[in-house]
Symmetry: C2
Subunit: 364 residues, 2 copies
């Protein structure tokens, strides 16, 4: 029975939050249709007072398109999803986002090391985080994926959270931490390769620009940024890498990521094919271009939540493309620190983020 | 304008088959909604007289469930899909299968080395293969994923096809070649690891048993087979590896692959967690179990066409699981030969296949 405080007599919660799954029984919270978001915490849980949601780019785009950009309709959609599922888990895209807030109560057995009053960002997806919204999203204008929000959320024993850094604006930190898995995995893959040529689809976006900086740091020989429009190309060309001289991307090309022939040709002209291709675009249909612009024996990392598993698997097979295709796992040890370090030290990335904060997501 | 013969004056076709895409324009044939399946071939294409389709396991299961197993309804569904899309591309699962047939005509510029009369199996997915069915599937009873069929199909310049081996029954060769990407990629991943513990979900099925044999050949230290039912456990326990003494799987455990806690516990009891986990189950919802039964730093290979990209990406993140997750690319150089060699030399795998040929797919 839900109540307002932790109950030390309760049986221990599952660190993965299985005890919060209402239906179907026995699945992980991410796979569940509905969670129990009641505020009475289990002994190893943490209760968070929510301040801001950050919808992931694929989900935000889908909501905006489904409501033709009408803010009232978008607000109603988000409220309906959270009310019916107990979490902000977009049923069309399958994705969520993350949130910032302040710790209200930490259960006695929580391993997260948080205490009441701590300002944090969650590093697990909203698609598995129990959530209740209490203000009807009255302060959200529907124009940004950052959603001011009152309510509460629950962290499980295994839920990762990061303290909000004191030296960065909260909205910036939230935007960086939302995509911090991408630069971390890119760094790992590029470092394991031998000075690879790296192509980044959506390189002027948030996960894209951080991944470009991470690829540089990890020893990429050449970084090819692919963007959809002239404005983004100009912004990316103007972005400098740390140290002052080098560009964030060595080459910047314009191509629609959904057009496989155009992407492959553009990357080839810019010094490709790529040994490592990183997909940071939030629209469906980018699997073919990513596969075709990658060299035989190369690797594609899919970070876009709009990626289709079958389109990637069968598309590569159909093109006789011997490429390793990675599902972009949002968790890599040290991911938050790496991303925050990059935003602090890479003026080009910082500039691209600053231009995007509080404006609608695009290409990220 | 389609006609019955290759026209050497025609502009060359795209080796990827882009010239056959009707809508939407510019995407790869796999991503297309509709292809042009007309029998008049481009100079680098091959026209095949179809004899048998092999629906992939996820598609067959979905069709069977959607029609409550009614053969007439299943037949109508397949005919409707092929008529409207110009290919057997299940719109729900996104997957296809492959086919066997006889080469009717090889264009003068085809690089595939085929000639009229050659009996072949396609190694590219039906989800990108132009196809026309002319017999109304009159000979299919709807009870097997192997579908006797009259009609024609088109191979592009880059479409891989394999001659049907003379020493194996056609139905067996088709079943083996349908899943030959799985053992090939499993072999590569296991060989690159250091004598890993390997868990195979759906180990008594077609791709699962071949992957078990490939893992053994590549140096796996221990192979844990996970199956859903007692009957499959018994069959897998009875399956011997090449050489006579060893079992195909060192340990066989029963668990519902959709129950993450049960899978993780079963694999742990059998000597896990796994360093490499191979997902060969054709039902949705197996991402969580695969992630939880894998050790930190380990690898999961998803071969199931029922895999959800977001459930894998966000599920691993939510569990703070640092696992590398691979999209099972159906193309690995040498995949057909490796799989055929395994079926010839591994009596345990052969036995499991023989028991499944011409019976409904399950767990594979």
């Amino acid at each position: 029975m839900p109540g307002p405080t932790a109950d030390a007599d309760r049986r221990p919660g599952s660190p993965l939050g299985l005890h919060r799954v209402l239906e179907p029984a026995g699945v992980l919270p991410q796979a569940a249709w509905r969670l129990d978001p009641s505020p009475r915490i289990w002994p190893d849980e943490v209760l968070v007072r929510v301040e801001r949601l950050n919808l992931d780019a694929a989900s935000f785009r889908q909501l905006r398109e489904a409501s033709s950009g009408d803010p009232a309709a978008m607000k109603a959609s988000v409220l309906e999803i959270v009310a019916s599922r107990g979490k902000m888990h977009n049923p069309v895209t399958g994705s969520g986002g993350m949130l910032t807030g302040v710790v209200e109560e930490a259960g006695p057995d929580s391993p997260l090391g948080l205490k009441p009053g701590d300002a944090i960002a969650t590093l697990v997806s909203l698609s598995l985080t129990p959530l209740v919204i209490t203000d009807g999203l009255a302060s959200w204008d529907g124009a940004s994926e950052q959603v001011p929000c009152e309510g509460h959320a629950i962290l499980f024993g295994a839920s990762i959270a990061a303290p909000l850094p004191a030296d960065l604006p909260a909205a910036l930190a939230l935007a960086v931490l939302d995509v911090c898995g991408a630069p971390a995995l890119t760094h790992r893959v590029v470092e394991a390769a031998d000075r690879p040529v790296v192509a980044i689809l959506g390189a002027a976006g948030k996960s894209g620009s951080l991944s470009a900086a991470a690829a540089r740091k990890a020893g990429a020989r050449r970084i090819i940024g692919v963007v959809p429009r002239q404005a983004e190309a100009a912004a990316l060309r103007a972005a400098r890498a740390a140290g002052g001289q080098a560009r964030l991307a060595d080459e910047v090309v314009i191509a629609d990521a959904r057009d496989p022939v155009a992407v492959a040709a553009a990357v080839r002209r810019a010094g490709g094919p790529a040994d490592v291709t990183v997909v940071c675009v939030d629209v469906p249909g980018c699997e073919g271009g990513a596969i075709l612009c990658t060299a035989q024996g190369g690797t594609v990392i899919f970070f876009s939540m709009a990626t289709s598993f079958t389109a990637a698997a069968l598309g590569a097979e159909g093109a006789a493309a011997d490429v390793t295709m990675l599902i972009g796992n949002g968790y890599v040890p040290g991911h938050a620190q790496l991303a925050l370090d990059l935003i602090r030290t890479e003026p080009g990335v910082r500039g691209l983020f600053d231009a995007r904060i509080d404006v609608p997501a695009s290409g990220s």
